[in-house]
Every structure is written in C-alpha cells, then in structure tokens.
Symmetry: C2
Subunit: 166 residues, 2 copies
C-alpha cells in the first residue's frame, strides 16, 4: 500500500467518522468544537453536515483556505494546552461534538498531547456527546463507537457517557 | 460538496489515472517522469505500481516525507522552466510516462506553466507514451484518454501519438 493509498484511506475514514457523528448527535444539545483548523477542509465539512450548529475552532496559527475562514468570534487562538481549560467559560455551554485532528507526525509528542487533551475536552462535552479523533483517546466514561465501513483504529469515535456516576 | 469531499474525489481520480496509466504503458519503453514531488505521496505510488521503471523527479525544493526521498541521481533540481529543456540529454532516453502535478492554486500562473510545459514534455516522451496531469494540457498529437470511473476533467490523461506525421 502506497502513501497515496493510505492517505486516501485515512481521509475516507475521517469523513465516514464525521458523517456518522453528525447523525449521532442529532438529539444532543450544544455547539461543535474543532481542535486544529489546518487548511480548513474538515471545518468546511463540519459546516456542511452540522449546518445548524455553532462551530468553535481551536488553533494556534490560522491559515486556512480563504473560503474556510471561521468567524473571528468563534476562534479560540493559541496552543490547545493554554486555551482548553478556559474554553467552557468562553463558549458558555457544553458541546455536542468535538473533533481532534492533532497528530503532528511526532509520535511521542502527539501521544502526550492526546493524553493531555482527553480529560480536558471531557469537561467541555455534553452528556451523550461525541468525540472524534485521529488519535486514540481515553477518558473515564468515554465509550468507543465503531465507525461503519471503517476498520478499527483507522479513526476514532467515542461517546461521552456516565456523567451521573461521577 | 465540502472541500473535504472534493479533495478525496481529486485524490481518488488521481490514483485511478495513475493506475490506468501503469497498465497502458506496459509495452512502451522508457523511464517515468514526475513533475512536482511535494510530500512524495504520488512518487511513492508510482514507485509501487511502476516498480520496474526508473523514476526521474523534477522539483525546485525537495522536502518529501523521509520515506519518499528519490535517489539523488534521479533528481532534476530547479524550476521546471529551467530544467525541462535539457532533461532529455540528462535522462538519455525518452519516457514512457510523465505525471505533471503542477497546480499552485493561482489560476493564471498554473495555466501559463501548463502551456509552457506541454510541448517541452512532449519532446521527452516515447511514441505511445502517456502523460497524466492535474491540469488540462494540449500538444500536437496528444489524444485524451478517458479515465475509467472518473468524470471528465477531474484529472487528465493523454497518449502521445502521431510521431510519424511530423
């Protein structure tokens, strides 16, 4: 399998995951959180499939395709590590869906960032909300959701549950 | 259609085009020319599907994924505009296949580059060779080849013919 093949497979898995999440959050209240804007491709996709939701974007350096620029008042600028803890106050309500596309190509660094973010993103989520990620994540009460048509571990989807038990 | 959708569609079209070209050049002699290396994804794909061919890479700035670095003695470094005219001398023989992934996002500039390159790439090609491109190209004796499973104009494939008439 070439790197072109695996890249296409990853993007198809990502899209299947986002589309499935869009269906699953239909009854969950709250906005959408996008961690990592990049060129804005997935932001544009979320905007299309979750058209009735506010989308908040976390990013250090904003440089998307011009068509994919989020509104300024929905941007949380800075390193995720610095901005995630105060985000709930800024947003004002818990989220229905979060997408974390945070892999940098550096394995150790990415793993550390995922471990740092998971419990903090958890605090931003509504009960029953969904979290999708390019990285495996783990937090108390997060149940993995299989992604239809996608092999396990190619992309990751979790439902945030068991709030009542905490 | 979101930008994620159209990006996936473009990559799938590109892959279908390259795979079809690999079958069509089976009886055409010569090496492969890759104009534009980028991160090396399509180079890696060409290396996989045209494993028995030399691949020559034209690129200004070499910065692929480390796994996709071409051998130094198959690199033609510099602006295509400066290197294409002397390439035949360097390579030593005409090519079976050329892939031009040269779109920069700037429409006028890309169009000018494609118009500049087509007749020059033509001189590098074996009779019956194939040229694939992200841009529409035009040169005397180039016949468009439909790409199976891909809508017209999503990616471009030409057969270099009619050498005898010139």
């Amino acid at each position: 399998m070439s790197r072109l093949d695996s890249f296409i497979r990853r993007l198809e898995a990502q899209r299947a995951c986002l589309n499935q999440a869009a269906r699953l959050i239909a009854t969950v209240p709250g906005p959408i959180l996008e961690f990592g804007l990049g060129n804005g491709r997935t932001y544009d996709h979320l905007r299309a499939i979750m058209a009735d939701r506010e989308i908040w974007v976390f990013e250090r350096t904003i440089a998307p395709h011009p068509d994919c620029m989020p509104p300024e008042d929905r941007l949380i600028l800075g390193d995720f590590r610095d901005t995630v803890d105060d985000a709930l106050q800024r947003i004002g309500t818990t989220a229905a869906f979060a997408h974390l596309d945070v892999g940098s190509g550096f394995v150790q660094e990415t793993r550390a960032l995922a471990a740092f973010l998971a419990p903090r993103v958890d605090r931003l989520m509504s009960e029953g909300g969904l979290v999708a990620s390019d990285q495996p994540l783990s937090a108390p009460g997060w149940d993995p959701v299989p992604i239809k048509g996608v092999e396990p571990r190619r992309y990751h989807l979790y439902r945030v549950t068991r709030r009542a038990r905490r």
